[in-house]
Amino acid sequence: MDDVILRVKNICKYYPGVKALEDVSFEVRRGETHAICGENGAGKSTFIKILTGAIEPTAGTIEFEGKEYSRLTPKQSMDLGISVIYQEFSLIPYLTVTENIFYGREIKKGLIRDMSAMEMQARELCKDMGVNIDVRKRVCDLGIAYQQIVEILKAVSRNAEFIIMDEPTAPLTVRETQVFFNIIKRLKEEHVTIIFISHRLEEVFEICDRVSVFCDGRYVVTKDVQEIDRRGLITYMVGRELSDDYPTPRREIGEDILKVRGLTNKNVKDISFHLRKGEILGFGGLVGAGRTELVRAIYGADPILSGEITFRGEAYRPRDPGAALQAGIGLIPEDRKRQGAVLSLPISENVVYSILKRIAPMGVIHSKDEKEYVDKYIGELNIKTPSPGQLVKNLSGGNQQKVVLAKAMATNCDILIFDEPTRGIDVGAKQEIYALMCQLAEAGKSIIMISSEMPELIGMSDRIYVMSNGEIAGELLSEDYSQIKILEIASSKL
């Protein structure tokens, strides 16, 4: 049992300005099911990508089956028998189970596929794994759990001895998860090594032998699951100290400005909350908890199915983002490159993009007004650029984010929604954005901030709602803040 199949030593992965992984060393034993836990951004996915050869580590070595590698190529990784089961499936929906399992290495009789031989083998495989699937069914006609299983069958049929599962249970219901776990148990009997990544800590305790914790790109600890409990695990995951580099609030919080009652759509259910004037309201939760979807609905970017919103005492239901902006609600989206800025246009045109109508009587843009706005926001937000004509794609991440922010601020909204405002930007720009958010709140604007960075969420928010699985799972006032509490609530509805 102490036979080590994978040993990583001092693995580092640096991106410009970001240390995604730093000095990670640990071992995985042959035949064990090894969980990797950590918050969003702890470095789990980076680690997996290094194992599959998708990215190259900056430093360190990977020892697999006793052989040392400084990096793996995707081909090497596959040849070593490492396979990954992603959340998004790599199956071909309109082919049958059998066809998918044998995709790319079909059994042939001469030039023709030997369907019956393949089906027989596929059936045998299912029997071995203890699952009951009609191998002639098309994959798209199967439930998600079974699709997931087909994916595993595909890996097993290729004699994979080392399977990485990245949040495999995220889309599954409780019953489906059980079916899935039975397969994992079978695989264990076959001495297949599994790396299991999940935010659902219960599952880690139910199915895994050992668990390793990552935090902020560093490896923290490896424990037998018997030696640790849920609380202990969370404490390891949180790991870090809160730093004091958040501006101290000097703002006055006023009356309710926005009230949401029973808001429901495709992604969120029965959301009720309120936001006060001059408040910075935090939304915590795991990735996929429905926070982004919630604010998109409030911003008119996604349809609302039911529920009521009152904004400044009046009923509010935006048709589209234009209507939300008109009413006085702005959004700074989470993905600035895809949703925030038009990268191919200059800073100036981005800044005034949402307010063109105001500076263009009869459709002709008044260039003096435009320049005034642009200069004002470049100055106010300290956007570092040689000229307002610079294309946004040539700016650093922090400055791009400031441009997106400037565009929203130019509309002079009463409520500004920040979705992951500091993701992937450097520390200096982060501080500036925090300071700006506080200034806005002090000036009487209300702010909703979604953040997956715990210290930021705790450091900035006057109040925090924690979402879990499309619902608001709890509300925390500043005196009750703790990372452990937030994480616990965040995983409460899974």
Binding site: R338, E349, L356
Partner: protein
């Protein structure tokens, strides 16, 4: 030193098309001794004045990341509709023009609706429009040319101001209007914005549907103008007229540096792309190159233009990375 070098490369990428035009003129001047004359210049201008108008609309659509294959058919059906209005119903010229242009606008909007509301790929939506409108042109004319309407309608194509044909002036005026609209008006900003990043535009409160409808509608409208000019020039409404305009227009627009994925490109550069196409056609005719070969050459030019546009994008990105 290195930087200077890069600047030169960027200049070359930006104005490579101008160099190509000059080379082409030089080649034809060698090949045909009649080529290098003021007369030829007017022949070219007169010839491109119709497709030039189509190019403007095509540019608007391509800036949004779309494409409009229906422009040739819109021009054709507009020409025959005008001819029928003038001949069969003896409508006054002004009324005919208004009627035809409203219809052309509607054709464009229909394409736009298919693209926005029905979520169809622009290529397919406008291909459908292209074929059905061509069919319509044959139906309303019974497949026969319509001629014998008032001579007054032909005056426009013959007329000149200070030696410059009216139709060339019309094209220049339209170019000036749209160059202004693209750089100084909200319409231009929205077109570039939607083409550059549709999702960001939507989240910035811009109605992407409206912007695209505007682009396709204007493309139809401008193709309608082109159809009227064409009718004035030929004095006969041919149901097949305008065939292949989309090809010339798309090539000219791509040559002018408008990105196929939208969001980038300048209308004034499209003028050069258009002149290049006109020079090529006129030059080939003057050198006695036959129709079939001309078609072959035009197809190759389109492919080379697209390849060049992709290539220059790559080089540009590399320069930005190394800079």
């Amino acid at each position: 030193m290195k930087k200077k070098n890069n600047n030169f490369v960027v200049f070359l990428l930006d104005y490579g098309i101008l160099v190509a035009l000059l080379v082409l003129i030089a080649v034809f001047s060698f090949a045909s001794k009649n080529f290098f004359k003021t007369n030829t210049l007017f022949t070219i201008l007169r010839q491109v004045s119709i497709t030039g108008i189509v190019c403007i609309g095509q540019t608007l659509v391509m800036l949004t990341g779309g494409i409009d294959l229906s422009v040739g058919s819109v021009a054709g059906v507009s020409a025959v509709t005008a001819a029928i209005c003038l001949k069969n119903y003896e409508l006054p010229i002004w009324l005919t023009c208004i009627l035809v242009l409203i219809l052309a606008l509607i054709y464009g909007l229909l394409s736009g609706l298919c693209v926005t509301k029905l979520n169809m790929p622009p290529l397919i939506a406008t291909l459908g429009m292209q074929t059905s409108l061509r069919g319509l042109a044959y139906i309303v004319t019974d497949g026969l040319p319509v001629y014998g309407f008032t001579k007054a309608f032909g005056e426009f194509a013959k007329g000149t101001l200070a030696g410059i044909p009216y139709m060339v002036i019309l094209m220049i005026v339209l170019f000036v209007i749209f160059i202004f609209a693209l750089s100084k008006m909200t319409l231009g900003r929205y077109l570039y914005g939607v083409g550059g990043n549709e999702e960001a535009s939507r989240l910035s409160g811009i109605s992407v549907t409206k912007v695209k409808l505007m682009a396709y509608g204007l493309s139809g409208f401008l193709a309608g103008i082109a159809g009227l000019v064409l009718l004035s020039r030929t004095s006969s409404g041919q149901p097949s007229s305008g065939t292949g305009y989309e090809m010339d227009a798309i090539t000219a627009v791509v040559l002018g540096g408008v990105s196929l994925s939208g969001g980038e490109g300048k209308l004034h550069m499209v003028i050069i792309g258009m002149l290049l196409m006109g020079t090529l056609t006129t030059g080939m005719i003057m050198c006695g190159i036959n129709d079939y070969v001309q078609q072959l050459v035009k197809g190759i030019v389109l492919i080379v233009a697209v390849a060049y546009s992709e290539f220059s994008k790559k080089v540009r990105n590399r320069i930005i990375v190394t800079a």
